[in-house]
């Protein structure tokens, strides 16, 4: 317990040393963040939600917030456009990088802005939503982010606007030697009947011993349609502890695709609230791990109102001695009659030493609902491998082909071709052996 107290105090001291020239709205959030963090501290493994996540890599050191962004190497700067064209903001070590960003021809009805630029006169439409969904009392990394973020993205889509090209947010972590923390922050408000596609991508240098703790808040007003693609592709020394909150109002549709492929330890907690009748939430996820990677998706879907729909489809592929967690809770509140909720998690374990945990959960307090869940952990089918080999296909390629088929199924619902193509490339690079698979027709 002493160690825990000490861990708290370094973050508190860091908070006390923050500059005093911050705008009042930001300072208020910072204060709330550190107070909530101080109240609960880092979770330990006796807490159910953190039972399988080994945080010792994080609690053993002080990850100090980066004060000055580093230089972006050629490889990373070339990569910022990898998911195709869009209205793009690039944050380097948590701060906006203008030269890598591209907001040309922003259409009417779309606001894409850096939080740091608002200064003292941030509009109410921003301050009214920023921090409203993130539960700083429940999640210490949401609290840390709220205590320390200095910049971030504000995306606002005006009533009825249908934005064709995606909004692309890229968070780049540059090479550094010392442990450090980056707190990306994103808040998205999609007004009534509006439609937008959003890509949020996390990349970074391999040798970065960083804690990256992003918070993303998505508000979908009545009838809004929000597609959100979250791509976690950071370097091999990164500890990524992310939080996503989405709230769907009446008849709104929130569709998320999460891909987790990078980092040493990567966890994202996705909270989705069906907050009014007829809303739907679709969560798809793909995690690819190798070596000693740890990847963890926790989903929390709350059906608070009647006639809501949720669909979850998560797939994982594991190599080496990697470990993964899928833990998904669907909670159907008492009044949420006629809820239709489905949850699927399938894992493909390619190496014996890899370990997949799958824990889909249903908590139902209404009596007229349709809920289903399922989970599998398995290996490649011997019969299928032999069938492919008996036709002349090399074992590595056969394994690659079957793995590809398994994993790419969750990419089918992605509505931006360039994003899907990019995820496919990430998948191809990941596949075992030197597979010569170019496309899956």
């Amino acid at each position: 317990m002493e160690a825990l107290a000490e861990t708290k105090s370094v973050y508190l001291r860091e908070h006390e040393a923050l500059p005093s020239d911050r705008p009042a709205w930001l300072e208020a959030l910072h204060r709330r963040g550190i107070e909530d963090f101080e109240a609960v501290g880092f979770p330990n493994r006796r807490q159910e939600a953190w039972r399988k996540t080994d945080l010792s890599q994080i609690t053993d050191a002080h990850y100090r917030a980066v004060s000055k962004p580093g230089a972006v190497g050629a490889e990373l700067s070339n990569s910022v456009g990898a998911t195709g064209p869009g209205y793009r903001l690039v944050f380097v070590d948590g701060r906006l990088d203008r030269s890598l960003s591209d907001l040309e021809d922003l259409p009417a009805g779309l606001t894409v802005a850096s939080l740091a630029e608002y200064g003292a006169d941030a509009p109410e439409r921003l301050t009214g939503v920023l921090g409203r969904l993130a539960d700083t009392a429940a999640n210490p990394f949401a609290a840390l982010n709220t205590a320390f973020f200095r910049d971030g993205a504000f995306v606002h889509v005006a009533r009825g606007a249908a934005i064709e090209r995606p909004v692309v947010l890229v968070h780049v972590a540059t090479a550094r030697e010392e442990p450090h923390a980056i707190y990306p922050r994103t808040v998205v408000q999609v007004e009534e009947g509006a439609e937008v596609k959003l890509v949020e991508r996390f990349i970074g240098a391999d040798e970065v011993p960083a804690l990256i703790a992003p918070v993303t808040e998505l508000h979908a007003a009545q009838g809004a349609i929000v597609s959100y693609y979250r791509l976690q592709e950071e370097g091999s020394a990164t500890r990524h502890l992310g939080v996503v909150h989405a709230r769907a109002e009446r008849d709104a549709s929130v569709r998320m695709h999460s891909m987790s492929a990078g980092g040493r330890l990567a966890r994202v907690d996705i909270h989705a609230d069906i907050a009014d009748e007829g809303a739907e939430v679709l969560l798809d996820g793909l995690y690819l791990t190798a070596g000693r990677q740890f990847s963890d998706h926790h989903t929390w879907v709350n059906h608070r109102t009647p006639h809501g729909t949720s669909r979850q489809n998560f797939r994982g592929v594991l190599q080496g001695r990697s470990e993964t967690v899928f833990d998904g809770l669907v909670k159907v509140f008492k009044d949420a009659q006629k809820t239709d909720a489905q949850q699927q998690n399938r894992n493909l374990v390619l190496d014996r030493m890899a370990l997949a945990h799958s824990n889909p959960r249903l908590e139902i307090y209404a009596d007229d609902v349709k809920c289903a869940h399922g989970s599998t952990v398995g290996e490649l089918e011997e019969d299928a491998l032999f069938y492919l080999r008996s036709r002349g296909i090399a074992p590595d390629e056969a394994r690659g082909l079957l793995t590809m088929a398994f994993a790419s199924e969750v990419l089918e619902g992605i509505r931006v071709a360039e994003v899907r193509d990019h995820m496919m490339r990430v998948l191809l690079r990941y596949l075992p052996g030197d597979t010569a698979i170019e496309e899956l027709e």
Partner: protein, 251 residues
């Protein structure tokens, strides 16, 4: 020299000996049929020839084109012209029939020192061969065997045979589960591929298929051994008398 020469082959599955000394010699251009009751070892022989590692060869040898076949991995056998038409074709969700065949054909062509086919040439080839075996073209884009009817699966095997053009084709109960029309189509596909270079080993429980694929030689397999060999009239004899006589003889 024979294309395929099996000498005193013994094989087991999970410790149980299934093949107890098979001798069989198949010349290029010939069609051999193996008939036998359930459990006689027909499918084990087919799987051993294709290289399924779940079957252990415990004795004997197999020479294919003068090489020791047992030294070759399944994919090497396939590239060198061995083809197994599966009794139970495997469903492979997420991999289209077309993509699968392209990967297979290119692997085989590469081994033969031929260039890979370009997309147009390949499509032309598979359309032509699909037509020849009356495989519905819509099945080409579907995942391999997924949701195919029993007949479609078997037809798909013959379609693959037609595209990959092996030297030594082994058909494991390709007739099971087929109605008479599908059976004729499958037989037509096989007959169209008979030539002086290529050999077939047709494994079947029933004589019916052999009315349409007329074999040069027929072997009766009972309890892991070939108990009788003869011409096509042996199949007819079996149809009349059944296997009981041979089973007694083998016991």
């Amino acid at each position: 020299m024979a294309l395929l020469e099996i000498r005193n082959l013994h094989a087991s599955v999970e410790g149980a000996e299934i093949l107890k000394g098979i001798d069989l010699s198949i010349e290029a251009g010939r069609v051999h049929a193996i008939m036998g009751p359930n459990g006689s070892g027909k499918s084990t022989l087919a799987k051993v020839l294709a290289g399924d590692e779940r079957y252990q060869v415990t004795g004997g040898e197999i020479l294919y084109r003068g090489k020791n076949l047992l030294d070759l991995a399944p994919e090497e056998r396939a590239r060198d012209g061995v083809f197994l038409g599966f009794q139970y074709p495997v469903e492979i969700p997420g991999v289209s029939n077309t993509y699968f065949l392209k990967a297979a054909l290119n692997a085989i062509r590469k081994y033969r020192g031929e260039s890979e086919l370009d997309a147009m040439e390949f499509l032309q080839l598979i359309r032509e061969r699909a037509k020849a075996v009356k495989l519905d073209e819509s099945l080409l884009q579907r995942p391999v065997n997924e949701g195919f009817s029993g007949g479609e699966k078997k037809r798909n095997e013959i379609f693959q045979l037609a595209v990959l053009e092996p030297m030594m084709a082994i058909l494991d109960e390709t007739d099971s589960g087929l109605d008479i029309d599908a059976l004729k189509t499958v037989a037509d596909g096989v007959n169209a591929m008979r030539d002086a270079e290529r050999a077939f080993l047709v494994i079947t429980h029933y004589q019916r298929l052999l009315n349409y694929i007329v074999p040069d030689e027929v072997h009766v397999l009972v309890n892991g051994r070939i108990v009788k060999s003869g011409g096509k009239e042996l199949a007819e004899e079996l149809e009349r008398s059944g296997y009981a006589l041979f089973e007694e003889a083998a016991a």
